[in-house]
């Protein structure tokens, strides 16, 4: 290695007496060239096949071929030692790259990679290996550190009024509010602690996001992310990840995946153990990948119980980010506005030539590849976990002789439990019902005759054998599809009347409404005269009510009761809406008009803010903020009730209603009185001030009269007086009507 050559320090040579005159005293800002006089550019590849001298060259070429793709190997940088006694290779090789970067990339990309069935490569950095071998054989335990737990992570759920929280980002402020039934939200925490530290500090200058169950608030910073929790929003963890652009929590908030796309270097995807990081007060990264093979999308998905993380890999895999930006929650990430990058393939877990598509399932927290083998999914285009079971659904289009297909795979057995071949498929979209009872594959078929056909393949996942039904939609395209949360129904927007921009909305049920048979049934359709300007469906989390929204430059919202086929409220002529979401309890709908951060010349810098509507469509709050960046409801952890129990509660709702109504009214009245007292005292104070000033004026009024040559405004004789009499007539008074 080149280490020794640079042992005597470079500056020792440079700064001798002659040169001193040329260098200003105390100058420290020169840069020395970066040498890496250690072994950080070297890696050790272990678990290679042990081969004889004859096959030596072939293996050398093969290994070189693999690692040439990662980075440039130094001259004589590949060495594979031989056992002099047997003449066989020892099963490992040293590789020295030109840069440390390539070495790191090589480790990340090829560690645990299956060369063949018998040989899974073990790749380590040389430095680590030396560290391990020089490690003392005897174990001296570290002094035990107390584990930290954060008290009250879920305290907000115990609110006496069962209120929900939300966070807003505007200007330099990050504020968490309680939503109030009366409208005006109540500020809970707005970074006062950070502001009190002075020096113009504030809580967060980038985007923020809630964790999946609402336990933490995550703030993005240039150096990484910070997690805040508990009733006072104290910092519970800091995870360093330079240039982090997107962070996604696992379903139970145990883990976190962060993505970085720095401009000045390679990006990474890092999986963190959040719970451990908090409890031992140290950052625990479980695994990292170079971001490159995955592009700028989220192809890392957690199972519902966080036992597994699935990583989809295929050059056909679409970046969900593009579709999500804007309306989806994850669009709130810092990457929400990052430009799309190329989704390259590359060296990955499955080998260099795996553009074919696969889903790698890793076990958490060990991050070992399940059975050391990925699930082959040729041409993988889209995949997702069932929200309640360890079941993955994916689809792939036609390839060569193979038809397109939707496949359901059970984990951890990796057993294919259902496979549905499809023909003439142009596109397909998989949507799970939130309870995992149903899966819809919305299939757009290639154009035959004149129209594109759309069919909905509906899987009854909970049933033995997974029954499948198909619904064909004639009036296409389908513009939106939405399952009723914890329900049996779904709604679609479809039809193509581009001229009037009015579309049909259809409601279906997976269960026949009268017979109770498991049979997909069209309930009714809003079409023809009843077609409406709508492009987005948003079911209330409680079901029954759906918002038919048109999100455009001129937006509209319609609150529709699906049970009674009636419109509860309709609001037209709203300006551009770019965020629309129900609160977790289904009491309020909020829409927000946001502007991207860091773009002060954004076209829409006026009108920004958010509105809050009741589920009946009454506007109860409208908050306008100048630089309004984001709104996000704090999610609640998933209900412990089953879908069936939830349906029962809904039936008995009337019982609970009265109690809440009364509480709300009392609270409202108390607030009103409180406000009157406050305003009344301001009024009294203002009036007292004014009276003082007016007395001062009256005392000197003669001066003004003198200036006006004796004319006094208040002398009545200076006025011509007209008396106008008006009589108020009550409407519909029979005596006056005649």
């Amino acid at each position: 290695m080149a280490g020794e050559d640079y042992e005597h320090h470079y500056s020792d040579v440079l700064i001798d007496e002659e040169l001193k005159g040329y260098i200003s005293e105390g100058r420290t800002d020169w840069e020395e060239p970066v040498y890496e006089p250690d072994f950080s550019t070297a890696i050790v590849v272990d678990n290679l096949p042990k081969v004889s001298r004859e096959k030596y060259d072939r293996l050398m070429v093969f290994v070189r071929k693999i690692y040439d793709q990662v980075g440039k190997i130094a001259e004589d940088g590949l060495q594979m030692p031989l056992d002099e006694a047997t003449g066989m290779t020892l099963g490992f090789a040293f590789i020295n790259f030109l840069t440390r970067d390539s070495a790191e990339k090589a480790i990340a990309a090829t560690n645990n990679w299956n060369l063949d069935k018998a040989h899974a490569l073990k790749v380590n950095s040389y430095v680590d290996l030396v560290k391990t071998t020089t490690h003392p054989e005897t174990y001296t335990p570290e002094p035990a550190r107390p584990l930290t737990t954060v008290p009250g992570l879920y305290d907000w759920l115990k609110d006496a009024q069962y209120r929900d929280q939300f966070v807003v980002r505007h200007g330099r402020d990050t504020e968490v509010y309680w939503a109030e039934p009366g409208g005006t939200p109540e500020l809970l925490y707005g970074g006062e602690r950070e502001k009190a530290m002075g020096q113009g500090r504030y809580w967060c200058d980038q985007y923020v996001t809630w964790s999946k169950t609402g336990a933490y608030l995550l703030t993005y910073h240039r150096q990484g992310v910070a997690l805040w929790g508990g009733p006072k929003f104290e910092k519970v963890a800091r995870l360093a990840h330079h240039g982090v652009a997107l962070a996604q929590f696992s379903n139970t908030d145990r883990y976190l995946v962060t993505y970085s796309y720095p401009e000045d270097g390679p990006g990474h995807v890092v999986v963190w153990d959040v719970e451990r990081s908090i409890s031992i007060q140290e950052q625990v990264a479980l695994r990292s990948w170079p971001v490159e093979p995955f592009g700028k999308g989220n192809h890392f998905k957690w199972s519902h119980d966080d036992k597994y993380i699935a990583v989809g890999k295929s050059k056909y895999l679409r970046n969900p980010q593009a579709a999500q930006a804007g309306l989806d929650e994850s669009g709130g990430g810092a990457a929400g506005h990052v430009k799309q990058g190329s989704t390259g393939t590359g060296v990955g877990e499955g080998g260099p030539e795996d553009g074919e598509g696969q889903i790698s399932v890793f076990e958490a927290p060990s991050m070992e590849l399940l059975d050391r083998k990925s699930i082959r999914a040729e041409g993988l285009r889209g995949f997702d976990w069932c929200p309640k079971d360890n079941l993955i659904a994916y689809w792939a289009p036609e390839r060569q002789q193979q038809p397109a297909r939707v496949v359901l795979v059970e984990l951890p057995s990796k057993k294919e439990v259902r496979r549905k071949p499809l023909f003439y498929v142009e596109d397909c979209e998989l949507t799970w019902q939130n309870e995992g009872e149903y899966l819809c594959a919305q299939v757009t078929h290639k154009k035959r005759q004149s129209k594109k056909k759309v069919s909905l393949e509906l899987f009854r996942v909970k049933e033995a054998g997974i029954a499948l039904e198909m619904v064909e939609i004639d009036a296409t395209p389908v513009r939106d599809f939405a399952w009723e949360p914890a329900g049996h129904r779904f709604a679609i927007i479809h039809g193509d009347d581009a001229n009037s921009y009015r579309f049909s909305v259809s409601f279906y049920s997976m269960i026949h409404p009268t017979t109770g048979q498991k049979e997909v049934t069209l309930l009714y359709r809003l079409e023809g005269e009843k077609a409406r300007p709508v492009n987005k469906l948003l079911w209330s989390p409680n079901g029954s009510i759906i918002v038919l929204a048109k999100l455009a430059e001129a937006s509209s919202l319609e609150f529709y009761d699906v049970d009674s086929h009636s419109t509860l409220a309709k609001r037209d002529d709203l300006s551009r809406i770019d965020y629309l979401k129900w609160d977790p309890s289904g009491r309020y709908l909020t829409d927000a008009i946001q502007q991207p951060m860091g773009n002060s010349y954004y076209k829409y810098s006026y009108d920004n803010g958010f509105r809050m509507w009741t589920f009946q469509g009454t506007l109860i709050a409208h908050v306008e903020k100048n630089q309004f960046y984001m709104f996000q409801w704090r999610p609640r952890p998933p209900s412990l009730l089953t879908a069936e129990q939830q349906r029962k509660v809904k039936k008995d709702l009337r019982k609970y209603e009265r109690r809440f109504d009364k509480e709300d009214r009392e609270k409202e009245m108390n607030k009103k009185k409180e406000e009157w007292r406050r305003k009344g005292s301001r009024r009294a104070e203002f009036r007292a001030f004014y009276a003082t000033r007016l007395a001062e004026f009256q005392a000197r009024k003669a001066e003004l009269v003198a200036l006006q040559k004796g004319y006094d405004d208040e002398e009545l004789e200076n006025y011509e007086i007209r008396v106008v009499t008006r009589r108020m007539v009550p409407l519909g008074d029979p005596e006056l009507a005649g």
Binding site: A554, S575, Y606, D607, E624, R683, Y690, R693, L707, Q708
Partner: protein
């Protein structure tokens, strides 16, 4: 009532003290007077060659002074439209206001080439022979600091001080007899972050209200220059007035003219906004204009208000009974 008489954006609207006359000025060089009751155009004051930036009618409605971008201030006889005298300034004139009693008026003009910005007081009593009036100022204040640009000038109670508003959000008081800047408490204050567009008074000149580009209006105690109340909007405020009969203030504004075309008409928020003057809460808006509102005034009896807009229209609104009989939201016993 819509009054269409101007070809360019309105810059100033103004009731006389009796409220029977309504004056409007625009960028089109001809100030106009209207009959408030009928909306009839009574006459115009022709003579300026630049846009009108400010005007003031004397207490008894006999004299009008107009300030213009053509570097001139003109003195008019209100009833006949006769031009009595022209006061040539060294730069575009931004403000002109009568003192109480109408013997003097004050003006401000911009710096221009080598000339500094100036604040001047002219003596022009109504009963003097117009021939004998002098176009030279009685008092002249030069603002040597080129960074400080005065935008408007006003007279405080009993003509005690000149109150000058600046582009950087400051207001300063000057002695109208000597021209000296007042010092000590209550003689200057930074009220806004950006340009102050206009100031209007309540009847006794106890308080004034500002309108500024920083999206705010302030209600200020004239004596101490303390900000009593702040009215926050989401657009630059061009004009604000205090209701003489209710605890209300009216704000007119809108986004900058150059960015109007980037949003839809109704999204521009070309509305007069009503705030409760004590609780600082907005409670209503009046629509109508197609461009930002550039000027507002309320009649001295508080029964009507007028707004002028970038769209060139002057709109006169008479309050309905719902408004006039509206009670304060907080019951009196609180």
């Amino acid at each position: 009532m819509v009054m269409k008489g101007h070809e360019r954006n309105i810059t100033r609207v103004l009731f006389n003290r009796d409220g029977d006359l309504l004056f409007s000025a625009a960028s089109d060089k001809t100030p106009t007077v209207w009959d408030t009751e009928t909306g009839e155009r009574l006459g115009t004051y022709n003579g300026h060659s630049g846009s009108i930036t400010d005007m003031s009618v004397s207490w008894n409605s006999n004299r009008l002074v107009t300030a213009s971008g053509d570097c001139q201030v003109k003195l008019w006889k209100v009833q006949t439209g006769e031009e009595l005298l022209t006061y040539t300034h060294s730069g575009p004139v931004r403000g002109a206001q009568w003192a109480e009693g109408g013997e003097r008026f004050a003006t401000v003009c911009d710096p221009f080439v080598s000339h500094n910005a100036k604040i001047q007081v002219f003596y022009a009593p109504e009963d003097a022979d117009p021939e004998s009036l002098s176009p030279t100022p009685e008092v002249l204040i030069e603002i040597r600091n080129r960074e400080e640009k005065p935008t408007k000038v006003y007279w405080t109670q009993f003509n005690e001080d000149l109150l000058v508003a600046y582009e950087n959000g400051w207001v300063r008081k000057y002695d109208p007899k000597t021209g000296e800047e007042r010092t000590g408490e209550g003689s200057s204050a930074k009220l806004h972050e950006e340009k102050i567009n206009a100031i209007t008074w309540d009847k006794q000149k106890i308080c004034f209200i500002t309108a500024s580009n920083d999206y705010r209006s302030c209600l200020v105690d004239a004596k101490t220059l303390k900000v009593l109340r702040v009215y926050q909007t989401d657009r630059p405020v061009n004009g604000a007035v205090i209701s003489p009969i209710k605890d209300h203030v009216l704000l007119g504004g809108g986004q900058e003219a150059q960015s109007v075309t980037t949003t839809r008409g109704q999204a521009g928020k070309f509305e007069t906004r009503f705030f409760h003057s004590i609780y600082e809460e907005e409670f209503g808006r009046v629509k109508g204009h197609f461009g930002p509102i550039t000027a507002v005034d309320i009649s001295p009896d508080g029964l009507a208000f007028v707004s002028g807009s970038f769209d060139g229209y002057v709109r006169l609104h008479f309050f309905d009974d719902d408004y006039l009989f509206m009670r304060d939201e907080v019951p009196e016993e609180y």
